[in-house]
Amino acid sequence: MTMMKSLLGAAAVIAMSATGALADGPAVIFDLGGKFDRSFNESAFNGAERWAEETGGTYREIELQNDAQREQAMRRLAEAGSNPIVMAGFSQASALEVVAPDYPDTTFVIIDGVVDAPNVQSIIFSEHEGSYLVGMMAAMASETGTVSFVGGMDIPLISRFACGYAQGAVAANPDATVIANMTGTTPAAWNDPVRGGELTRGQIGQGSDVVFAAAGGTGLGVLQTAADEGILSIGVDANQNYLHPGMVLTSMVKRVDVAVYDSFTAGADGIEPGIFVYGLAEEGVGFALDEFNAELVTEDMVAAVEAAQAEIIAGTLSVHNFTDDGTCPVEMQ
C-alpha cells in the first residue's frame, strides 16, 4: 500500500486543488431505474436539463448504484455544498429522514414521498385527478362499456391511479364496468412486460376495449398487447402516445420534470418546506394530446374532460383520493 500511496500522492495533491472549486448549484439524485428509464427518472432528468439550458447554470447529479447508497449520496451532495437537493422516488424517504436533520442549512426536495422536516419539501402528485380525466376518456371511447386497468406493484400509490380512473369512467358512463389487475406484490412487478401483456389479454377476454397501464416497464407490454389485439390503451407518467400511433388513446402525464424544474428555479431560499401537491391546477398531472392520438380523441371527449378539469380546479368536483382512507367509492372487478 505504501508504494501505491507514494506513487499517487503527488497526483493527489494536484487533483485536490483541481476539484476544490465547487459551485453551490442544485443537485438531483435519480432512483435505481437510472436517468434514461424513459419514464419517471428520465422525466426528472429532462426537467433538470431544461433548467440548465434556460439559465446556463450547472447542476450535480448522482445515479444510485444500489439501495444501500442512498444515504451516502445525499450526504455527499450536502457536504459538497449543493443546494437545493432534489431526489426522485418514494424509496428515498427513509434515508432522507435521517440525513435532513444533519444538514439544516440545506434544502431537500423529495418527489413522490413525504418527509416531515423543517428543511424538506415533499412533492406529491394528484394522480387520482389525472387518472379521473383519462378514465372519462376511456369510458367515452369504449364501445363495450368495459374498461380496464393494469397496475404495477400492489401499493397504495397505484391504487390511487386505479381508483381515480374508475371514478372517471363511471362519471362519463354510469353503466361502465371497470376491471383492475395488479401485476404483483414485489418490485419485479414494475418490469414484467410479459405478465402485463397476459393481464391485458385476460381483460380483453372479459370485454375490455380500453386499458390504462400504470406499471412502469410492465406498461410497455400492456400497450404492445393492446396494439396487437386492436384495442386502445392509455400510457402513464411520460407522454407515451408515440409508442403506438393511433392505438394509444392518451397518456396520463405526471410532470416530474416540472417539479424538478420548479425546484431548481426557485432555489434553496425559494422552496417552502412542507407538503406540496402538484394537481391539475399546477399542471402537475394531465392528459396528453398530440398528433399521434388526434384522430382518436373526439371533440365531445375534449369538451367533457376540459369541463371536468375546470370543475376539479375550481373545487366544485372532488375526486376521491384512495390513499386518504384506503377505500374507493367505485367498485372494480
Binding site: M1, M3, M4, K5, L7, L8, A11, A12, V13, I14, A15, M16, A18, T19, R60, E61, I62, E63, Q65, N66, D67, A68, Q69, E71, Q72, R75, R76, E79, A80, F90, S91, A93, S94, V98, V99, D102, G113, M153, I155, P156, L157, T185, T186, P187, A188
Partner: protein, 363 residues
Amino acid sequence: MDKMPKWADILLIPLISVVLALFASGLVVYFIIGENPFRAMAIMVNGAFGSAYGWGYTLFYTTNFIFTGLGVAVAFHARLFNIGGEGQAYVAGIGAAIACLLIPWPHWSLALLAVTILTSVFGAAWAAIPAYLQAKRGSHIVITTIMFNFIAASLMIYVLNNIFTIPGSAETASVRFPETTHLPNAGEFASFLGFRSSTPLNVSFFIALVAAVGVWLLIWRTRLGYEIRAFGHSETAAVYAGINPIKITMIAMLISGALCGMMAINAVQGESEQLRLDFVAGAGFVGIAVALMGRSHPVGVCFAALLFGMLYQGGAELAFEMPAVSREMILVIQALVILFTGALDNMVRMPMERLFLSFRREG
C-alpha cells in the same frame, strides 16, 4: 519448503497485481473515456483516504469485506468454493432485524451480542443446506450456493413486503430499529480523529478484526483448523488420516456462512439501522476476490478488504467528481482489479517465484 518468503506471498504479489490492474484501468480511463487517468486515480485515492469522511466510508466497506472475505477464506482452506456469501449475509440481515425489532434491549451491547449470535446462526443455516448436499450427495457447492443466493433474494422480497414493512409506505424496508440498539459509530468513540456523527464506521469494525484473529487461531492453532487444511490439501489423505470428510465439509461451511452472515451486523445494525433491500450490495462476491487476493490468510484478507473498501468509496467519489465516468465504468475498474488479483494471479506469481528461487541459489 515454500518457494517464497511469506511476506512476498501475502503482500508483494497482490501489490504488483494491483499496480498492474490500476495501470490497465488507467488505459481504460484514458482511451475509452478520454479523461486524465492520473487525475482519476488521485480522485479515487483522495476520496477514500483524504478525509475523515472518506475514511469512515472506506473502513465501513472494509468491515463488510473482512467478514465476507474471512468467510470465503475459511471455506477455501477446505477447498470449498463458497459463492453464497451474498445470500448468507442477506438472510443474516433477517436475523439482525428480528433481534433488533422484537426485543426491547436496554443497552446496545446486549443488542450487539444478540445480533452477532443471530446473524451468524442465520448465515450458517443458509450455508448448511448446500453444505449438506455437498457432503452427503456430492451436489457441487458452487452450483448450490449460487442458487441459494437467488432464493435468499426472493425470500428477502417476501419478508420486506409481508413481515417487516413500514406502515403506509411502499418502500421495501423495515421500520427503523429502536434507539437503544444503535451501535456507537466512529463519531462517538473516535471523534478526536475527526469523524463526524454521520459516519457509517461503527464498532463492528473491531468485531471484524477480532474475527480475523479468531480465524487465524482456528486455522493454524487448533486441531479442527489442521483437519480443515488437511482436508483441503488432499481429501483422500485426510480420510486415510482418520478425518471425517462429511464433518469437515459441514463445519467449514457453517463457519464460512456464519462469518459471511456477521457482515449484517455492520450493514444492518451498524449503518442503516433498518433492514433494506439489497443491503449486501455485492459484498458477498467481493469477499471471494478479497479471499483470493489475501491468499486466504487473515492478514492478507484485511489488507485486501481495505483495498476493495478504497475501490468502493473511491469509485463512488470518482463517479461523483467526474460525470464522464458512469457507474458502469466504476464496475469495470473494480472488475479489472478482481481479474488481475484473482484470475491472473499466476501471471505475477510464477515469474516472482523464479526470481526468488534464483536469489536463493545465489545466496
